[in-house]
């Protein structure tokens, strides 16, 4: 029972690491050059601070996830992992909500502020950003599960004592 739990948590952490890494890679590689009337501009992820924040946070979390995979199971650092899980889950939720807010404006525009949607002109860039955000959302869900699991094992060790 404890063995399956360990394998399952390891697998979950590995998948979470993969999703954060792919979110970073997809977002970084999204660029498209478009011509509107006489202007030729290039849409990159670094134009928007929200997407830059998303990339930075996901990069930090993927480094953390990579390091946690190599932690031996009886080490005392698992208590630190519980606290760091909390911090990084909170950072991930804030980054995904910021990126989603800006992406929504890019897709639908804001008529009151006079902001036109840009997705029609740079469709490939828009789709790639959407893909990165979907992968980022999956990583948020996975890290939330990992965080709840860590919280549960720390605060309610009665179940651990039974097994």
């Amino acid at each position: 029972m404890a063995e399956t739990k360990r394998i399952f948590t390891f697998l979950l952490r590995f998948i979470a690491f993969c999703t954060t890494l792919s979110a970073v890679i997809i977002m970084i590689s999204s660029r498209q050059r478009a011509t509107v009337l006489v202007f030729s501009f290039e849409a990159k992820y670094s134009d928007t601070p929200a997407f830059k924040y998303f990339v930075i946070v996901n990069a930090i979390v993927s480094i953390y996830g990579f390091l946690v995979l190599f932690l031996p199971s009886k080490s005392l650092l698992w208590r630190l992992v519980v606290a760091l899980d909390a911090v990084f889950t909170i950072l991930l939720t804030s980054s995904i909500s910021a990126a989603l807010a800006i992406a929504y404006v890019g897709e639908k525009g804001n008529p009151i502020a006079g902001w036109l949607p840009i997705c029609d002109q740079v469709t490939k860039y828009c789709n790639q950003v959407k893909g990165a955000l979907i992968v980022g959302f999956i990583s948020v869900v996975l890290y939330m599960l990992l965080f709840l699991y860590s919280l549960h094992t720390v605060l309610n060790p009665l179940l651990l004592e039974k097994s």
């Binding site: 601070p49 807010a101 502020a113 006079g114």
Partner: protein
């Protein structure tokens, strides 16, 4: 006041951090967090500004365009208002639990529930506050690459009130972080019921 076996604390912490003082400190912090989150919600929901622009002049009569900036035009601000509303309700319920609910305990589930709910609401309020912060940054600075103009020079008071709501929400976020940390520390340090003694060992998750 009980100290667990295996945990050595300096003697002066035991004298300073008595159970009554810690309980009232935590209650005071929760009250502040509730007030901050409720203030953020209210200021954002009641945020509205109407302005008339002169767009063109036909002959001698000017053509006016009246624009109203409301919070529900922006989904990020709607999420911000809902998240802060939920967090203020959570803090209110926690205050009630602290004051009145010491007999609602089912097999010692009360403390893990409070800790988990605190953390979850912390994540919620951080998401809401950050989304609104980036939208506000976009409104203040615009985005030259996407040809989006900044709007804070036209709707000054709307932007100022939004900034106030954001500050209150970040204050609530910091307070909730402190509250989560302190409530877990408080429960570990000051634990008087004897049947919870095996709960005091922080177990390794593997």
């Amino acid at each position: 006041m009980a100290l667990q076996s295996g945990e050595k604390l300096p003697m002066f912490i035991g004298h300073i951090w008595s159970k009554q003082k810690s309980r009232w400190t935590l209650l005071g912090l929760r009250l502040l967090a509730f007030l901050a989150a409720a203030a953020a919600t209210l200021v954002m929901v009641l945020n509205k500004q109407t302005k008339t622009f002169v767009v063109a002049t036909i002959g001698t009569t000017p053509v006016n365009l009246t624009l109203t900036a409301k919070f529900h035009h922006t989904p990020a601000f709607v999420f911000f208002a809902i998240a802060n509303g939920l967090v203020s309700i959570h803090n209110l319920v926690m205050i009630m639990m602290d004051l009145l609910g010491s007999k609602f305990d089912y097999k010692g589930f009360q403390f893990p529930m409070i800790a988990s709910l605190d953390m979850l609401n912390l994540a919620l309020v951080s998401g809401g506050a950050n989304a609104a912060a980036f939208m506000a940054e976009l409104g203040k600075n615009g985005n030259s690459h996407a040809r989006w103009d900044k709007i804070c020079d036209k709707f000054g008071p709307y932007c100022d009130r939004g900034a106030g709501a954001l500050i209150a929400s970040f204050l609530a976020l910091a307070l909730m972080l402190l509250i989560s940390f302190l409530s877990i520390l408080n429960h570990k340090l000051v634990n008087s019921s004897s049947h919870n003694s095996h709960n005091n060992i922080i177990a390794l998750p593997n």
